[in-house]
């Protein structure tokens, strides 16, 4: 850069420019110079030496200058780290929560004491303005460790019957390097897990500095391991058999791959992925406030924010005024040296990202959208892209659909609240939404209807350790932060060490005529044939295939009847019926409870019939059948009772904010039932799902489907609205695959064998639906909490955090 001499005071009095205000970086540069030999991994409490020829260079994106050499992790490196974490697990998880709390508290304190060091290092490495790293990232990091020091203290009393998942493999992105580390490591450690974390290859430096802090506070070796490297290193971590849980934050594309790779491994998985979050401005909003909201939504961290409010939806009557204000505001955004304290927009993290932004912006222009940039100075070197606003964008434009991950807002207008919601939800993502209106009725209505895991009313991009963060739809699943985030790092004791159900592939079904059915005792003349149909949209329908299969008593092998051989099209019809039954979720919980109670009442009235059916078709003993029906009736009562009591929470976040954690239904759920306990297994999956407001497509036990098809008569007489429950019999795994691949199905439970579990998890990647699979383990459906409990309710809901500010 050309050296400019400082103007005189008199000259400055004329121009009133801000002038340079650089944050000193000497201490950080000294630290980097001290590591001129390169950074090795941090494994088992030790910084490993840097092997020759296996390093990559980390650059300062603002200048392109190299900052450090960092080792590229191999599968062997990952293996050593996982071993270290495994070795540390027993000791760490056995510690009293209070002891872990002390370590987390020390980490929080130490980060605070080094806050400027971390801020400067983060800005150097990532390119984000020092104002953001100093005032937002690093304080949130410390807050996260404090908050989770608290959880470590409370975990035994607040999560009885739960324990750590084990060794966690964690992969974090480059946009909030240290904050994402905190989001991953703090809850994992609080819950008693040990971790292997891989920072992004663009931004590994604060993670390495954090490792020094771990050493400094005397964290037991192996509890935290940091392995550096690129995607290949991450893949090795994901694939390592010693990893019990994978937590990933990054692109939807990579998240999908991870879902596929971990399918069937039994690894717990949480994904926090991309977004194209709506930023909705109604004509009764504080428009100046909303303009600042856009600044914080899309020009915060250069728009390299997964929950960035990148789709600005403005009510048409206010659009001209709003755009005018927004454009004026853009003119005062300052872009430049991230370490300058007067800079709003820093550098894009890497040349490849810059190129991607440029390409998408060019595409937006080519597709006819109107581009606006305020024309401020753009540094002539380094990775910079100016704040950009596209107007005249149509929902069909590429830039309206694709996550740009840069400082580019796309704006379009709407006419009515309904249209705003339609546009807001017209995306495959569902991470966040920002709603601007002074009408509380309108704002809360939209908050309820928008499909997003985080909703900010009259605010945007607010974060707090006490609130859950995470997405709907293809923005991933699982939450980070708050009680709900901690749950991702815990596993219920009952779910550990379940026995195998011995199921491999399901038997081949025969659609051909069978030998004579066993005649029921005492019948003087032929019984009247019974036809079990499918149950779709409240109607009994024949299978689309026109085939039925022979159902046999599993104990005797004798044919006992026929069931419809459902196919793709039947699943399609059932899902369509379910998705049209959305009124069920809008009904009051009391209403749903009443319906469930009524189902129990009617099942109870017909219990002898169901017992006989279980004996005849499922091969149950009379005693087992009696017990199964009785427990099923009780179970329906249990979830009827819960229907209006599974409350959300109000998180303690910022002052003058109500942060509501609402339990919302997924929408359409697929429920693939176990073969064992054909009535109770189905009831155990169906009742928590519909109690929470979901509509279900049930694939009952393949071997014993006839109690399920009898059950639709109970539903018919119990005021269950059409479409809320749909039953498709047939080959379990064939139907499960269709459900897993169906993009309208938001969650899928599969309680079959291990191969089917793997298939379902893999197929679910296509829309990243939340899955809960049995992994071929046998549950005792008669027992609690294996067969019944709030774990089922938690799995039947997703948590939406709604931030509602107040104050006049």
């Amino acid at each position: 850069m050309p050296q400019v001499s400082t103007p005189s005071v008199k000259e400055i009095l004329e121009t009133m420019e801000y002038g340079p205000a650089p944050e000193a970086a000497d201490i950080v540069r000294d630290w980097l110079a001290g590591h001129a030999g390169g950074f090795g991994h941090f494994i088992d409490g030790v910084f490993e030496p840097t092997p020759d020829g296996r390093t990559f260079t980390v650059d300062d994106p603002a200048t392109g200058a190299p900052l450090a050499e960092v080792v590229q992790g191999s599968a062997a490196d990952v293996g050593r780290a996982v071993e270290a974490a495994r070795a540390a697990l027993a000791g760490w998880s056995a510690m009293p929560g209070h002891v872990r709390a002390r370590y987390l508290y020390a980490l929080a304190r130490q980060i605070q004491k080094r806050e400027r060091f971390f801020s400067v290092l983060e800005s150097l490495d990532n390119g984000k303005p020092i104002r953001e790293s100093r005032d937002i990232d690093i304080p949130l990091v410390a807050r996260h460790f404090y908050h989770h020091a608290g959880w470590a203290e409370l975990i035994e009393s607040e999560f009885p019957g739960h324990g750590p998942v084990g060794v966690c493999g964690q992969i974090i992105p480059w946009n909030f390097p240290l904050l994402m580390l905190a989001w991953k490591i703090a809850p994992a450690l609080a819950a008693g897990n040990t971790v292997v974390l891989k920072p992004a290859e663009f931004t590994p430096l604060t993670a390495l500095a954090f490792a020094e802090i771990c050493r400094e506070v005397g964290l037991p070796k192996g509890v935290v391991n940091i392995v550096c490297g690129d995607g290949a290193t991450g893949a090795a971590l994901v694939a390592h058999p010693g990893v019990d849980k994978v937590a990933f934050t990054g692109s939807t594309e990579v998240g999908r791959t991870i879902r596929e790779q971990t399918a069937g491994s039994g690894k717990k998985l949480s994904l926090e992925l991309g977004g194209k979050s709506p930023f909705i401005v109604f004509d009764d909003a504080d428009l100046d406030g909303a303009v600042e909201g856009v600044v914080d939504a899309i020009w915060f961290n250069g728009g390299q924010v997964c929950c960035a409010g990148s789709r600005v939806l403005v009510q048409e009557g206010a659009a001209d005024r709003f755009y005018a204000k927004l454009k004026r505001r853009m003119a005062s955004l300052r872009m430049g040296d991230p370490l300058d304290k007067s800079v709003d927009v820093g550098a894009i993290v890497a040349p490849v990202q810059l190129q991607r932004i440029r390409d998408l912006v060019a595409k937006g222009e080519a597709e006819g959208a109107t581009l606006f940039q305020a024309g401020g100075a753009v540094p002539d070197k380094g990775c910079f892209f100016p704040p950009t606003l596209f107007t005249d964008v149509a929902p069909a434009s590429t830039i309206a659909e694709v996550e740009i991950f840069g400082p580019v807002a796309v704006a379009m207008t709407f006419r009515t609240p309904d249209e705003a919601i339609q546009l807001a939800n017209n995306t495959r993502y569902g991470l966040a939404a920002s709603i601007w209106s002074e009408n509380i009725n309108l704002a809360l209505d939209v908050a309820a209807k928008v499909k997003a895991g985080v909703v900010w009313i009259n605010s945007t991009n607010l974060f707090d350790a006490a609130a859950g963060f995470g997405g709907y739809r293809e923005s991933g699943f699982g939450r980070e932060g708050g009680r709900e985030g901690l749950a991702e790092y815990l596993v219920a004791d009952w779910a550990k060490n379940l026995p195998s159900n011995g199921e491999a592939d399901t038997q081949k079904l025969s659609a051909l005529p069978a030998e004579a059915e066993a005649v029921e005792a005492g019948a003087g003349m032929p019984g009247i044939d019974r036809t079990a149909k499918l149950y779709v949209g409240g109607k009994q329908v024949r299978p689309d295939s026109g085939y039925s299969y022979t159902v046999r008593n599993p104990s005797t092998g004798a044919p006992v009847g026929q069931a419809g051989l459902g196919s793709r099209k039947d699943i399609r019809n059932a899902v369509e019926a379910a998705s049209k039954a959305g009124g069920w979720s809008a009904a009051t919980a009391h209403n749903r409870a009443q319906v469930l109670y009524y189902v129990a009442e009617n099942l109870s009235a017909r219990s002898e019939e169901f017992e006989a059916r279980l004996v005849r078709t499922a091969g149950s003993s009379a005693e087992a059948a009696r017990r199964e029906v009785a427990v099923a009736v009780g179970r329906i009562f249990f979830y009827a009772a819960w229907a209006d009591k599974y409350d959300g929470r109000v998180h303690q976040t910022r002052s003058r904010f109500v942060t509501l954690a609402m339990n919302e239904p997924f929408g359409v759920m697929g429920l693939v039932c176990p073969d064992e306990a054909p009535l109770l297994g189905m009831v155990s999956l169906l009742m928590p799902s519909i109690a929470m407001g979901n509509c279900a497509v049930v694939v009952p036990s393949t071997t014993s489907p006839l109690v399920a098809t009898d059950f639709y008569q109970v539903l018919d007489t119990s005021d269950v609205p059409e479409g809320v429950v749909n039953i498709v019999t047939g080959d379990r795994d064939t139907l499960a695959k269709v459900l897993a691949e169906h993009h309208e199905v938001a969650a899928l439970w599969y309680m079959g064998g291990a191969p089917g579990s793997a298939m379902v998890e893999k197929a679910s990647a296509s829309n990243l639906k939340a899955t809960w699979v049995g992994d071929g383990r046998r549950r005792d459906w008669l027992a609690n909490p294996e067969g019944q409990g709030t774990d089922y309710l938690r799995r039947a809901t997703q948590i939406k955090n709604i931030w509602v500010p107040y104050g006049e």
Partner: protein, 349 residues
């Protein structure tokens, strides 16, 4: 920005409106002052009745005003000098005397020690404060003490600080102060008009005061600490400007809460909207509670960020303060000498 500006030119008050006496009088007043004055408009409730101000959103923006920008070294020194030139050096106490006012005036003329002015390279254009602000009965002594300088005398008036004196007396008080030589009148609005939504009454009152000011500039004190809500602040700001205020000012300094950043931001946004709608530039004056050099910088940043360069000049920006100057002078000495300064080394006001 260009859109807004071009839009604004077309929306000056309609020519078809019947001319009030006030407007007729204004037409007769020659533009003898250096600065253009805000002619006002008719009362236009549609400009403010639907406007929303969200407290949390305003607070968030206000909170980052001092953290998004930083001025250092020579820039900081220059900005602090600029702040000095925008100060309305004020004494509004029951024990004010001619002697006290004289002392204040002396400081107003030479707000920064000569050696420091020299070191800043400003000896040929030594800075003075923006104005001296006193009670009406102190205007005479102030004018006398400032004779020969270009520093205007501002007078509070209209039953300051509560403004609950009968209107004729309040108008008479303005005329008295103008007659004594005040070039600027800091009026207080009747807060009850704003609290009760009596916008026509508020408009009429300020318009009458504007008329009483004659050639003197009118600065309308809204008493924002009494108005409480930012919506009220916005509306009162807009009405005061429609009635012809040349400046809108936050506080008397006597309310429980004085100038805050969220209140200032709200007034500035009203002022900007008014400019968009009329093409007029109205000044802004925060008063009360601004005590430090850092406060001065923060408010200057606010003006630059939200309004731009023209609002960094004393014709459109004033700071009502008494103790702030001493802190600024100490900071300037630190810039010049590198040593932290003692207040005892600077002349008191």
């Amino acid at each position: 920005m260009d859109d807004a500006a071009s839009h604004s030119v077309t929306t000056t008050p309609e020519a078809s409106e019947p001319k009030t006496l006030l407007q007729s009088v204004r037409a007769l007043v020659p533009h003898s002052f250096a600065t253009h004055r805000n002619p006002g408009t008719g009362l236009k409730p549609e400009w403010f009745e639907a406007t929303q101000v969200n407290l949390s959103a305003t607070e968030r923006r206000a909170a980052t005003m001092g953290t998004r920008r930083s001025v250092k070294k020579a820039y900081q020194a220059a900005w602090l000098v600029k702040a000095v030139t925008c100060i309305d050096l004020t004494t509004l106490a029951g024990d004010d005397t001619a002697g006290r006012v004289q002392r204040l005036a002396a400081k107003a003329r030479r707000p920064i020690r000569d050696d420091l002015v020299e070191a800043l390279g400003l000896a040929d254009t030594p800075p003075t404060v923006g104005a001296v602000c006193v009670y009406p009965t102190m205007v005479g002594p102030a004018v006398k003490a400032l004779r020969g300088s270009t520093i205007p005398v501002a007078s509070v008036a209209t039953g300051f600080p509560a403004g609950l004196t009968p209107l004729p007396q309040r108008l008479a008080e303005i005329r008295y102060a103008v007659d004594q030589g005040a070039g600027e009148i800091d009026i207080v609005i009747t807060r009850s008009h704003a609290l009760l939504g009596e916008w026509q009454a508020l408009y009429d009152e300020v318009a009458a005061m504007r008329e009483a000011c004659g050639a003197a500039h009118l600065k309308a004190i809204l008493g924002t600490g009494d108005l409480k809500t930012l919506r009220n602040v916005y509306k009162a700001s807009m009405v005061a400007m429609q009635a012809g205020a040349d400046f809108i000012k936050t506080s008397t300094g006597k309310e429980d809460v004085n100038a805050t950043l969220p209140v200032s931001l709200t007034m500035i946004r009203a002022l900007r909207d008014y400019g968009d709608l009329t093409g007029e530039k109205v000044g802004f004056k925060p008063a009360g509670g601004l005590k430090t050099a850092k406060d001065a910088l923060t408010w200057l940043i606010l003006m630059k960020e939200e309004l731009g360069h023209p609002w960094l000049q004393p014709d459109l920006f004033r700071i009502g303060a008494s103790s702030m100057l001493a802190d600024i002078e100490r900071q300037i000495e630190h810039y010049v000498t590198g040593h932290y300064a003692s207040a005892s080394h600077h002349a008191m006001a």
